[in-house]
């Protein structure tokens, strides 16, 4: 079943257009930086971008920081929101379930396909950014944010891989929201926009000092904690909280999605 879902996802032109667009933004940013040589001042703009001009090897991290606030969550919400609701509105859901494909099985296959999409998206963004960055800006051992000796070779690769994993895990939280909503409504658009509404709300509250009491529990609170991978030693505190928080969101929302989907009357 998972093979079927992967084939459906990656044979869709839309999936590739999404990946292409995701890749385009950091690449365009890189080209502007390379041509004008005008970088954001340190401490301003997306994380790492100021440092990229002097070291292209840091660009994967910068590229992820560029797509993380909006582009990546939109792409993930669209794909995950479409997963069940899209089948329902196309009418194919009833034929799959009457096949019969068990509902739990179908939901698990959908989740794995979305997870595969997230992984591909994050890896492609990081990979392209590495190639683009090292070509345009040259590569040096990675500097770290906390001074310390620069990272080189395997150590640098490890931190990029950790970053990719952390960002992917954060996106799985987005996917869980969208997947749950996808089992509630028959409209893919509704599910995707609903998930985005949750994220926007979370972002607004994160920035609101009056909401400080709930801040540690907001889904987007620790998204940017991956910058801590580039400190020496790695600052695990926020990263650990981020991983655990997303884990709770993923577990609870998937449980809701499962409970709703398995008990639902399919009238689409």
């Amino acid at each position: 079943m998972i093979a079927v879902e992967l084939r459906k996802l990656f044979r869709r032109p839309r999936t590739w257009v999404t990946l292409l667009l995701l890749d385009a933004l950091p690449t365009i940013v890189a080209i502007f930086l390379a041509v004008t040589d005008v970088g954001p001042r340190p401490g301003e703009g997306p994380a790492f971008l100021a440092a990229v001009l002097s070291n292209g090897a840091l660009f994967p991290a910068a590229a992820l920081a560029i797509v993380l606030p909006l582009f990546l969550p939109i792409a993930v919400a669209v794909v995950a929101g479409d997963s069940v609701a899209g089948e329902a509105s196309a009418g194919t859901l009833r034929y799959l379930l009457a096949r019969p494909v068990g509902r739990t099985r179908l939901l698990a296959a959908k989740l794995l396909a979305v997870a595969a999409f997230i992984l591909v998206a994050v890896v492609v963004v990081a990979g392209t950014a590495y190639v683009v960055g090292t070509h345009l800006f040259g590569s040096h051992p990675l500097p770290t944010l906390s001074g310390g000796p620069p990272l080189s070779g395997p150590a640098a690769t490890t931190r990029i891989v950790l970053t990719v994993a952390y960002v992917g895990w954060s996106m799985l939280g987005v996917a869980s929201v969208a997947l749950f909503l996808s089992t509630v409504t028959d409209s893919s658009l509704g599910a995707a926009l609903g998930a985005l509404a949750v994220l926007v709300m979370s972002q607004v509250l994160v920035l609101l000092d009056a909401a400080a009491a709930v801040r540690p529990y907001l889904p987007t609170r620790y998204w940017l904690a991956f910058v801590d991978f580039f400190r020496t030693p790695i600052l695990w505190h926020d990263i650990g909280r981020g991983v655990a928080l997303q884990g709770v969101y993923v577990a609870v929302l998937l449980a809701f999605a499962w409970a709703n989907f398995t008990s639902k009357d399919i009238t689409s």
Partner: protein
């Protein structure tokens, strides 16, 4: 063995009881037709049989199995409209559908897909994406998907939808052939003629209740009256005094059991008989007598 048996099958959506205590009994090898006006619960019943809608009360036994998930691999279905992924070809759709769910070995997949495409008359359609298909072609594709694993039971909701008269005839012949090879047919439709031409057993649903379930032949039994058309109607009325049920011009309806005896009696009296035959109820009479108006009529 029974192909479908439901006992007290009931489904409520909030205040509305869509299906109310329905006891279906479909034997293996039957050609079983379910009739009823729009909103009478046909589709909800079909959805419950396929495990899409959970019954509020009641039991379903499919192919001798109370666990639907066990029986469904042997069931092919077409519910309301056919559905497919528009950006893929018909063949790619069938391949995906075949790969989903249990009991479809990869080795013979291509063969199975080719076979059903051939069966429904789509073999030559090629690589065109489904979104370019006509309504009739989509219906054929839906039927092909239903036939993929040589099901023992076919559950079809409005199988003639979108087809031209020629196509309807073709599909009917195909279904008759499959039935002759042992496939049980369960067809729901609001088209009387379609069910009358295809089915041997008929059920009628009305506002969620099963109001008729019988062999078509029994439903269309003689009414115990004989229709006589004669130019000598006035003489006949005088002769048959008391047995006359109805008269419209030269058409007489006479209460009598044996047409041959009646014929002999009339001819012996010197009457000229233009036509004489036992009156038979049409399926339409049966259904209209058993049902109220459809739920789409707002009185």
């Amino acid at each position: 063995m029974t192909a479908i048996r439901t006992t007290g099958l009931t489904k409520s959506f909030g205040q509305l009881t869509a299906v109310d205590g329905v006891d279906l009994e479909v034997n293996e090898g039957d050609r079983y037709g379910v009739l009823g006006p729009n909103g009478s619960g046909k589709t909800t019943t079909v959805r419950m049989l396929l495990g899409l809608v959970h019954p509020t009360r009641g039991e379903i036994e499919l192919l001798g199995n109370r666990r639907l998930q066990r029986a469904l691999p042997h069931v092919g279905s077409l519910v309301e409209a056919p559905a497919a992924y528009g950006h893929l070809s018909g063949r790619a759709n069938l391949t995906l559908m075949d790969a989903a769910g249990p009991g479809s070995p990869r080795r013979t997949r291509r063969h199975r897909v080719d076979e059903v495409l051939e069966t429904v008359g789509l073999a030559a359609v090629g690589r065109r994406p489904v979104k370019t298909y006509s309504l009739g072609m989509r219906q054929r594709l839906g039927l092909a998907a239903a036939l993929l694993r040589r099901p023992r039971l076919l559950v079809l909701d409005e199988p003639g939808n979108g087809l031209d008269p020629q196509g309807i005839r073709e599909v009917r012949d195909l279904l008759l052939r499959l039935n002759a090879e042992g496939t049980t047919l369960f067809v729901s439709s609001h088209l009387l003629a379609e069910v009358e031409a295809l089915c041997t057993r008929v059920a009628v649903l009305d506002r969620g209740r099963l109001v008729v379930q019988d062999d078509l032949a029994a439903l269309r039994a003689r009414t115990g009256r004989i229709l006589v058309r004669t130019p000598d109607a006035a003489t006949a009325v005088a002769l048959l005094d008391g047995r006359l049920a109805d008269r419209q011009g030269d058409r007489l309806l006479i209460t009598a059991a044996d047409p041959a005896a009646l014929n002999a009696e009339l001819v012996a009296a010197g009457l000229r008989i233009a036509e004489l035959r036992p009156e038979v109820r049409s399926l339409e009479d049966v259904v209209l007598a058993a049902t109220g108006p459809g739920s789409d009529r707002i009185a």
